[in-house]
Symmetry: C2
Subunit: 195 residues, 2 copies
Amino acid sequence: MKLLEERIVKDGQVRPGNILKVDAFLNHQLDVNLLDEIGKEFYRIYKDDGINKILTIEASGIAIACMTARYFNVPVVFAKKAKSRNLDGEVLTSTVHSFTYGKEYDITLAKKFLSPEDKVLILDDFMAVGKAMHGLLDVCQQAGACVGGIGIAIEKGFQSGGDSLRAAGYKLTSLAIIDGMDDDGTIHFRPQEEV
Amino acid sequence: MKLLEERIVKDGQVRPGNILKVDAFLNHQLDVNLLDEIGKEFYRIYKDDGINKILTIEASGIAIACMTARYFNVPVVFAKKAKSRNLDGEVLTSTVHSFTYGKEYDITLAKKFLSPEDKVLILDDFMAVGKAMHGLLDVCQQAGACVGGIGIAIEKGFQSGGDSLRAAGYKLTSLAIIDGMDDDGTIHFRPQEEV
């Protein structure tokens, strides 16, 4: 998605350790116009796939999920990372070994919000190694929900999470795939054919 | 807001300990159409207040903030609760003593995203005692940012957070104020004049 690639070049910052900071527009400060374009794009790609629910994980996935859900006119459900005193009853849970946070954490989702009747589009802002995504896929499997597609805004192509999911047969779309980042800040995007 | 009050009655659940669960439409599963109506309503109320940024806190505030920001055509910034390996540089920080989570936690916001040039509308899904809101107000004060208004979807009127902010002079709007919840699940809304 050219608009997103251009924004990454303009406002993204490359940091040591293969970190890409996009906090100015994607996951700390949010440009809702850009997010709306992202939502429109995910809708264009997945609108004929029978999606009845958008699934994501807190917190940075929520904005993209909501903007996308507006076009689909379906609910959003987001997996929670922190255990809250308010989370009662039956929950689906999975353990994520996060690269980004350098730690392990559990994700939870109330069982009543995901069922075999659901065909979900899973969305998130970033994919690196793909551990958070595997947690979400695990939760879908536990619920018996079908995964209609996976949509990622920015994939770190050199960290194999996306490639392995594509190889596993998922309809995965990453709007920008970064195959490398140089010390001088140059970002190398993977050329993609328009879907 | 009648639409929200009706939805709370229809899909909200009263639990012991003055807990109101609205997880079916507001803060675990999200009804984006309702959220859009909420955003439209906050815009109607605050559109002449010179707002140039929406401020909220992860995670449940993000959806409301984004939907509202679309109408204002301004960015959203959300305070983070968890320390991430990615959060470098200078941050504003405040400590919140949360009723909902039964614990103390820090919130952080990168300094570059809030400045004396900003006039913010602070939004969140819930207000009980108001500790999270006080954390956000503290962060605004540290940044020198002006608070143009505070918007809350659901206020627990019997937990005084809202009343004390109104008494302090903030332009606070809660779309639904709950003054009591009975054991049989009856919810008592505070009558409000339309602003």
